[in-house]
Amino acid sequence: MTFRSLFGALAMAACAVTGHALIAERALAQDDAAKGIEQYRKMMQDDPFANPGLLYVDAGEALWKEKRGTKNVSLEGCDMGKGPGVLEGAFAELPRYFADADKVMDAESRVIWCMENLQGLDTKPIIKGAFSKRGKGGSEMEFLASYIGSLSNGMKLKPQLSHPKEKQAYELGEALFYMRAGPHDFSCETCHGVSGTRIRLQDLPDLHKAGVDAQKAIPTWPAYRVSTESVKTMQHRMADCYRQMRMPKVGFGSDAVTALITFLAKQAEGGEINVPALKR
């Protein structure tokens, strides 16, 4: 398959997905809608080339290997936790404590750290544009997170909680998960505290306990989101939940987000990495 025909197939798939989502939202009864989306997701998964997120993986690999910054080096010397340049299985063990930065980092904040310290890149514009706008074809963070995540596909999520700072991140993440605040009194637990519930038609994973819901929901970010026609990352998922919770904008790669991801990774322990997955 040539790149052009692949792209055409992807564009058609994206259109079909969009149309399907609209039909599902507006016309079908909720059970049919849920089934329809699930069926489409399965079709896409059965055909690995139908997932538009794969373009992000390729773009991420190119970026990872590109010499950039004041030091004119690639990210291939970046230690994602398994040693410099080792990406296989690294994502499955994040977030983790990094001695060089003396803090716990998730995949995305670690990439930012490597850009700054290894490459000498100005990361301000990269952070500012980290969550791509609809139709803009993705951001550097979305590309890199997809690429790094994909190199742990098929592996089980293995949270790192042996270092005191990892334990502290977990405890703070747990406290944040239950922290009700803002005009609506929402905490993460408000929506993610009971299994089998949904907002409108969107199924909600129960993340207050370790188990299947978390195992399905957490190791499948970054994901290609059918509703936004783009790949969204875990940083975006956390930030967008806080937006819906009526909280102020949370910092990209901030310690609060890392703490939450650390807590959620523990809830999802043993879940299989599948990145970028397909989500509604």
Binding site: E25, L28, A29, Q30, Q168, E171, L172, A175, L176, Y178, M179, R180, A181, G182, P183, H184, D185, F186, S187, E189, T190, C191, V194, G196, T197, R198, I199, R200, L201, Q202, L204, R243, Q244, R246, M247, P248, K249, V250, G251, S254, D255, A256, V257, A259
Partner: protein, 211 residues
């Protein structure tokens, strides 16, 4: 006997104190984490928003009580929460609880308001369908809260039920301490008129909810 009572009360007093100390230590770390992760919120989010952005990072008494007890407060705390919630309710000046159900339906459908991407001065919606089934014709409803289909009919359209419904929307903690539902009136999310309109959606005999 007296000694036992004294010993017991000393124990009862010292236990919560010990918890409070442990809680304060992690609370200090939590506050530090929040301050470093949401830097300068009032300048980085839309100006003029109410409540202002910085204040949203500080929990009020109810939020603290419900967070630390994970929404299962002890009886005494629950009674205090209910009483405070009840005292916060402002009733309609005309004494009427039912507004316009058609406007209520629009409010129930509208999920906008108070987010950083929302217009600061536009009226907020109630977003009731996000969590509740209401008019059965609306299939895209959430299930975090109970179904409110046929709500008025099931409550015999009584005046007492009208009032109780208004109160639940205004501040649901008056009925259920540490309820998941936002305090729409107390927190100023909806106006008194909007709450009357949503009450009408649920309780009015004309409302499709009761057809």
């Amino acid at each position: 006997m007296k000694k036992i009572i004294i010993a017991a009360s000393v124990l009862a007093l010292s236990l919560p104190a010990a918890f409070a100390i442990a809680g304060e230590a992690s609370n200090e770390a939590l506050q530090k984490l929040i301050a470093s992760s949401w830097k300068d919120p009032n300048s980085k989010n839309p100006k003029g928003a109410k409540p202002d952005w910085a204040s949203r990072l500080t929990q009020d008494g109810l939020q603290k009580s419900c967070s630390t007890t994970r929404n299962s407060p002890d009886n005494a705390t629950a009674e205090r929460i209910k009483a405070d919630a009840k005292a916060s309710i402002v009733y309609p000046e005309d004494g009427k609880f039912l507004g316009d159900w058609k406007s209520g339906e629009k409010i129930a459908q509208n999920g906008r308001g108070l987010r950083y991407n929302d217009k600061v001065d536009a009226a907020s919606g109630g977003n009731c369908y996000a969590c509740h089934q209401i008019d059965k014709a609306e299939l895209a409803y959430g299930t975090i809260g109970p179904s409110l289909a046929s709500y008025g009919k099931l409550h015999d359209f009584t005046d007492a039920a009208n009032k109780a419904t208004y109160e639940k929307i205004y501040n649901s903690h008056a009925a259920i301490a540490c309820s998941n539902m936002p305090r729409f009136g107390t927190q100023g999310i909806l106006s008194i008129q909007q709450i009357k309109d949503v009450t009408a959606l649920l309780m009015s005999k004309d409302s499709p909810v009761n057809k």
